[in-house]
Subunit: 159 residues, 2 copies
Amino acid sequence: MTNKRELFQIMTRRFGLLGKNCCSVGGYDLSAAQSHILYEIDRGRSPSMQQAADTLGTDITTFSRQIQSLVRMGLVEKSPAPSDRRISLLSLTTAGKFVAASIDKQMNSYLDEVFSYLTPFERETVLRSIELLNGAMAQSSRCCAPVRDEAEDHSGNES
Amino acid sequence: MTNKRELFQIMTRRFGLLGKNCCSVGGYDLSAAQSHILYEIDRGRSPSMQQAADTLGTDITTFSRQIQSLVRMGLVEKSPAPSDRRISLLSLTTAGKFVAASIDKQMNSYLDEVFSYLTPFERETVLRSIELLNGAMAQSSRCCAPVRDEAEDHSGNES
DNA sequence: CAATAAAACTTGTATGTTGCAAATTTAATT
DNA sequence: AATTAAATTTGCAACATACAAGTTTTATTG
């Protein structure tokens, strides 16, 4: 009954659905991808396009257009880096911060509901497990390399 | 540090990446969506288009075309149900079964690697937790309603 | 039993997403 | 000053997605 692949297949599918038409906030209608971008910019320290795209594992050209949308929506701002004007630093506008906070609230509310079906002990266990899982995935060579939580390798890559 | 939303955000992102260009098997190059479809047909009991689309939470028109692709690739077969010829029952061809098995092997191999970074105890805990999480998500009214694990309601729906 | 409604799919079409190749702008090297 | 490289944008061309409308087959109903 504890088939690893099956458990992950179901979970992955659920998360896929979760994102479908993720997050509507006061007139703004965001996709899951856009929500991830806002999240990343919000918590990042004014990431550049490259950095953000890498972190999210998105092709830079696709990312460029996604940012264009968010800028057009008035949620994100791009400003050339003082040190190197090729680089665009990303930040949230006031509206962007509001939307990000709102999505955060929605997500937490959803998660609270899901967790309400668990006992306090199970909640602890599940959270701890996701932490473990994220750590393990981060170490895997086969997946998710571009995704880093907080600290990871920052040395040159390639052999 | 144990911020629920953050943990889920990272995990979701990782799973998103996981699926990016999921699974290449002997010339066949499948998307994550296609892999989910094969998985579902493989373990399902000759589901109909409707059933499979519902289970996967995909719009039926999109699903129809996805199946067309898989049929064109020679991985899936459609046959009219004897009892009702409007219904198309889905099944895997020999090639489809081979591909599904192969993906299963790849996924398990990947998961084995990820789990190798955990202690045996942690592995148990994580698996159990995903089980709990899947169960909890299934109960949530706000998400994932169409996704069912094994048994769920099979009574008439609607009020 | 014929007409009407409904169910299960498919197709038309319009819009959005994705990513490779090529262009653009700015910086670093020689 | 010329060449190379880095960060980002744009030109495509292929795919994905979903609403509306159409097709085929089955139920219902008077």
